[in-house]
């Protein structure tokens, strides 16, 4: 019988005011998240033979070879490693790569891990990208990174389609409502459209409340075969389809600033593999680095037509009780955003599909779509998951 790869465990670490509770180095917090996910799966660390890591830590230094360093730190000797780093969407791509490795028999238990202590260390450094190679044509102009690139896309989207700042604000408000239902979320106080509109202007048209948080965080996902999941008594979440793509890194090289091409490419393949249509998706978890990211992603994933994202999110349609549950943990906008957020999309989707999401649980779920975006609207990776 063919091997089927499934997700059997997820884990994260508790945060308080955006910082990891109890503190810790970036290696410690990843080890805690890994242990939490393996405990959740009921699989011991010594069974892990595939390790998938992407991060922004320890560079220059041990983070240059992140899975090699983390494997050593965790006391394991992986025979399959994947250090694919395409930005915050890397972990959705890792699920795809681990699924292929597991189904091919190249490894049996895959551990995907991410962690960051950027908030505690005050080390967020994306703005300091050195002006070398391709970036010599970006940083010299004083473009705030990464928000400036997203602002350029937002402005272009508004120009082409009439999207408004109020429509972007709808996303921030709805996401905050979900966060208010999540005890683990960093920002839980409800906000109104006006609060977003009146928040500090950062890079027009994006304002403070259009932007993700800057927090610590760590998360992990464990995958194995369906057969092994049964042997350990773990509840399996099935992987129905996946896809990935990237189109540029420099914002100047983005094919079309009003169109998220990478997400179009990634999700098309994922839907084809799953053999289902959009109607079959009960829940979407998508990367929300900025409100515009969400709006462009929903269009690119095909939940609405190009240019109709503004109308789609209006009237709090993505809030609790709305027609389209989205980013149910409070997202990068209100839950946490430790640099590369994509791992938490997977963690939340799995918890929802298992019915473990507490007050924010979405009823009658069978199928969820997870989509990560990385870089400056650069990369996209989609995973379609189901609980049956």
């Amino acid at each position: 019988m063919a091997r089927e790869a499934v997700i059997v465990g997820v884990g994260d670490v508790p945060l308080k005011d955006g910082r990891v509770v109890g503190g810790g180095s970036v290696l410690q917090v990843q080890a805690r998240a890994a242990k939490a996910a393996l405990d959740d799966a009921g699989i011991p660390m010594r069974h892990v033979d595939g390790l998938l890591v992407a991060g922004l830590w320890g560079v220059p230094g041990p983070g240059q070879l992140p899975s090699v360093t983390l494997g050593e730190y965790l006391g394991i000797h992986p025979r399959f490693a994947d250090n694919t780093n395409i930005g915050g969407s890397a972990f959705e791509a890792h699920v795809a790569h681990a699924a292929m490795a597991i189904e091919k028999g190249y490894c049996d238990v895959a551990l995907i891990v991410y962690g960051s202590t950027q908030k505690s260390e005050r080390s967020r450094t994306l703005g300091g990208r050195p002006p070398i190679l391709t970036m010599q044509f970006e940083n010299v102009w004083g473009i705030p990174q990464p928000v400036g690139g997203y602002a350029l896309a937002a402005r272009r989207h508004m120009h082409e389609f009439g999207t408004t700042e109020e429509q972007l604000a709808e996303i921030a408000v709805a996401t905050r409502k979900w966060a208010s239902l999540n005890p683990a979320a960093t920002m839980r106080e409800p906000i109104a459209i006006d609060d977003v509109m009146n928040s500090t202007r950062i890079s027009d048209p994006l304002k403070l409340l259009d932007c993700c948080l800057v927090t610590d965080g760590a998360g992990a996902v464990v995958m194995t075969t369906a057969e092994n999941a049964r042997a350990h008594g773990a509840r399996a979440i099935h992987i129905r389809g996946y896809g990935e793509a990237h189109t540029h890194w420099s914002i100047g090289a983005m094919p079309d600033l009003a169109r998220l091409t990478a997400a179009e490419m990634a999700s098309r393949r994922a839907f084809e593999m799953a053999g289902i249509g959009h109607d079959a998706i009960d829940l979407v978890e998508c990367y929300d680095s900025f409100t515009i990211t969400v709006l462009m992603t929903l269009e690119a994933l095909g939940f609405c037509k190009r240019g109709e994202g503004g109308a789609f999110v209006s009237g709090q349609r993505t809030a609790p009780g709305g027609a389209f549950p989205l980013n149910t943990n409070g997202g990068g906008l209100s839950y946490c955003h430790p640099g590369m957020y994509g791992i938490f999309l997977l963690v939340e989707a799995v918890r929802q599909l298992r019915g473990e999401a507490g007050e924010r649980q979405v009823a009658d779920l069978a199928t969820a779509l997870v989509h990560g975006t990385g870089g400056t609207l650069s990369s996209g990776a989609t995973v379609i998951l189901s609980n049956n």
Binding site: L133, F137, V140, W141, L152, T200, S203
Partner: protein, 138 residues
């Protein structure tokens, strides 16, 4: 130039030197592909359109229009703090390629997508000239 220029300066490499050399001479020069005829920017070793290596540096007109823009209300680090608010724009040159740059204007609120722009050269150090743009309507 009496003040020290503290903003990021390009780390010029052999693939990009002709662009920066031309800028110092107040010329905007970008690669053009002899195979497909298209210009591109930033400069590459292979044409990003057809992947030919048959490229030549060509001076372009320095005219174009605003494809998108943002007004930085918060600076990209302390060295840009004195400039806030300032305009970062993506220009589409009349020859086709897009480039990121600044628009230099007294009134940042005035910039609109589609505005016609013309290059101007800022000699920020004796070695470095930055091609920025002005609004034709200014």
């Amino acid at each position: 130039m009496s003040e020290v220029y503290e903003k990021p300066q390009p780390v010029i490499d052999p693939g990009t030197k002709p662009f920066w050399d031309a800028a110092r001479e107040h010329r905007l020069s970008i690669p053009r592909c002899r195979s497909c005829g298209k210009h591109h920017f930033y400069p590459r070793e292979l044409c990003p359109h057809c992947h030919s290596d048959d490229l030549e540096w060509t001076d372009v007109g320095g005219k174009g229009e605003v494809y998108s823009y943002t007004i930085a209300r918060k600076p990209a680090g302390p060295v840009f703090a004195a400039d806030v608010p300032y305009v970062i724009a993506m220009i589409v040159l009349d020859e086709g390629p897009r480039m990121l740059t600044n628009i230099v204007t007294e009134d940042v609120e005035k910039v609109r997508i589609g505005d016609r722009v013309t290059v101007r050269f800022d000699d920020v150090t004796p070695e470095l000239t930055l091609p920025k743009f002005t609004l034709d309507k200014d």
